[in-house]
Point group: C2
Amino acid sequence: MRLVIIGGSDAGTGAALRAREVAPDLEVTVVVADAFPNYSICGLPFYVSGEVPDPQLLAHRTVAEIEREGVGLLLEHVASQIDPAGQTVTVVDRRGQARQLPYDRLVIGTGAVPVWPDIPGLDLPGVFPLHTMEDSFLVHEHLLRERPESVVIVGSGYIGLEMADALTLRGLRVTLVGRSPSVLPTVAPSLGRVLEVELGRHEVEVINGMPVQAIRAEGSRLVVAGPAGFERSGDVVLVAVGVRPNSELAAAAGVSTGIKGAIRVNGRMETNLPGVYAAGDCVETWHRLLGRYAYLPLGTTAHKQGRVAGENAAGGEREFAGSLGTQVVKVFELVAARTGLRDHEASEAGFDPVATQVTIWDHKRYYPGAEELLIRVTGDRQSGRLLGVQMVGPYRSEVAKRIDIYATALFHGMRVEELNDLDLSYTPPVSSPWDPVHAAAQAWAKALDQRREAEVAAVGVGQSDQG
Amino acid sequence: MRLVIIGGSDAGTGAALRAREVAPDLEVTVVVADAFPNYSICGLPFYVSGEVPDPQLLAHRTVAEIEREGVGLLLEHVASQIDPAGQTVTVVDRRGQARQLPYDRLVIGTGAVPVWPDIPGLDLPGVFPLHTMEDSFLVHEHLLRERPESVVIVGSGYIGLEMADALTLRGLRVTLVGRSPSVLPTVAPSLGRVLEVELGRHEVEVINGMPVQAIRAEGSRLVVAGPAGFERSGDVVLVAVGVRPNSELAAAAGVSTGIKGAIRVNGRMETNLPGVYAAGDCVETWHRLLGRYAYLPLGTTAHKQGRVAGENAAGGEREFAGSLGTQVVKVFELVAARTGLRDHEASEAGFDPVATQVTIWDHKRYYPGAEELLIRVTGDRQSGRLLGVQMVGPYRSEVAKRIDIYATALFHGMRVEELNDLDLSYTPPVSSPWDPVHAAAQAWAKALDQRREAEVAAVGVGQSDQG
């Protein structure tokens, strides 16, 4: 049995390793376009910032570690065609030499490519995307060679925020320009604003609600322009406005695609073609709460889907359990995390969302180092079911893993009130007898009981806002 | 309707506040033996260490905050008798004046008292227990007045460990003497030994497996003696060998008791007497995994049981969901946490436990500040069900809330392999695409697949030990 995997990033490598675990006699070949299998895309900002001195450190697993598991790596080969009838993949090496790889089972893990918006000036020197190892080398070299002093970042999602942090650390003056009304549109504006204060504290200029229309060169400067005469200039421009599925190869072979061109898969990560699986940023992802497919390109999801695809391709039987959209980002000294649905997503999915937002100490205030966490809980008014949680707090105050407690609760469809039954750990330096996870749930239940937002303030619960 | 609550600590105050939430017209009176309702017993070591300068800060809620919720506090009154037929409680004030409090519903939250072992010398000056606010004042005053330079702590459970940390911080030379084969017997010896290294690094002498037989005075020193000529001396001795339920008052009134004399309750926290509830360190606690009652005196459990008792006493309908024995302790720069069952507990409960122990980075190693976590996962060989997890890692590496992810999984009876389906958060500064929570589960599953402990080492999994 020959398993061929196209793509050596999270999904592809995950599929390869799991397939070998399940079927140790399977012949597994991973086709990798560059020389960097399974590197950490999420680590690129920390390489650009200088915090990670050697890009080789970004590999989740080294070539040697992958090969030790009996996985064949075909580095610097691009898959140019899939022939589902003949069960072969055509691969082309750097010199243009093509050859055929026969397969019994195929996993497509071609990932995503940056969205390159349709505005003039994106091809100017000094304008960069940041998605591949290659991109990060180009940015890194440019920073070393040109020694730019200022940067305009287009896009205020999590990559844009991480790059604002990274380039500030590197000594650049940063302007962050985003379309959305507040930064990090995956969380409510009230939480985004907390991040904006943190960005401001580090002298990052934040411009919201701004659709960039053009980039042009003026002498050695690059000018980013928008409506009503908006202009900001910098020595360099980074564009991070999201990604789209890299699914052309699959589509050309007859693989069905859907949302944004992402590959359609079932719970087993099978495409419409027999024996052909797909996983990661190139596929539609089942959302466990929305109860439908969505496009959710996340490394965590890619690893899970790859593992499921690999297990099934190797003859196993496993279903992808679905995503909750759990995410976390560090911005300077703050961490912002979310899981589940935002209010408007919950409404669209047919729920009747009610949200409360509270500020709670991460541990007993009497023990040194207590920090405040801002927690927003969204639940369904009718059923009391937990729908989503967002949290902002200082780095090292266990924001990320507290979100994961909620994520685990969401996975099991718990009601908000039921969270109080969870036996969570407590000692004064790390928590309170009612952990912030409980306390935020109690505040939500209390607000719902009282049914009047006005009373929420009276019991010490902060403002609530739409979104 | 009059609700009387005996005891103003976690369970009693929790019951009072919840009762008022559920039934705002209920007349609620809490009988508090001292002047400190709802103070944090768990905070006493941090007061003794000097980290908390003012003991008033240890109140979970102040008198004013409790009274603001419409709860009446009868401070410095001791309940001396319950008359279930007449539905009255006799209370005695500091001057010995007795009076009767009539009740319609009663909640008993009398807590625990320190176990005072049956050895000579416990009444010597300079020998202290540490359980009440009063105890901590006495220790604190003694430290200020006598300026002791060394201490022998008898008991190496979590209070003993916290006191070793606290008194080292205060400049004392500490000797820790425990009966168990390693410190913190609530975790496996292999994890206890990691804590012993940390204690040693801070020059705490640890003596395991030592049953103390006597304490005697020699000049200004106190000598702690055991078998085979064992002796250690110090200027002061702290005894922290556990607690027992304070249930005599209840038992004298005809309330049924069981394990260690703890009050028997049902899921609604009702005793055998109609209208009489009990909660907290004085009751038997339902263990969700053992499927039986146990004596588990923990602040977190007391708060939950108090809330359930208060809700039911106020006419509500709620069941205590059971404990998982989740616990965490900070010892110098390390945090040790557990949830669920240890191996021997799992065996006793009829499971077929298999444990693996792995060392995993708390976040991507390429991002600065990565620290190693030691995670021990116990699951059932037959069903694959998760049974318990123990973890040790540095403070601020999210050990406590990672244990809580496992606790939430245990609450829902997940299988170890199913943990991989959890959509947990990731960014390089806080985690990996497979969080340590997942990675430890994968190591367990791999070890089980291979069915041979010898192979566990070959895949990078550390030693496993009994217990």
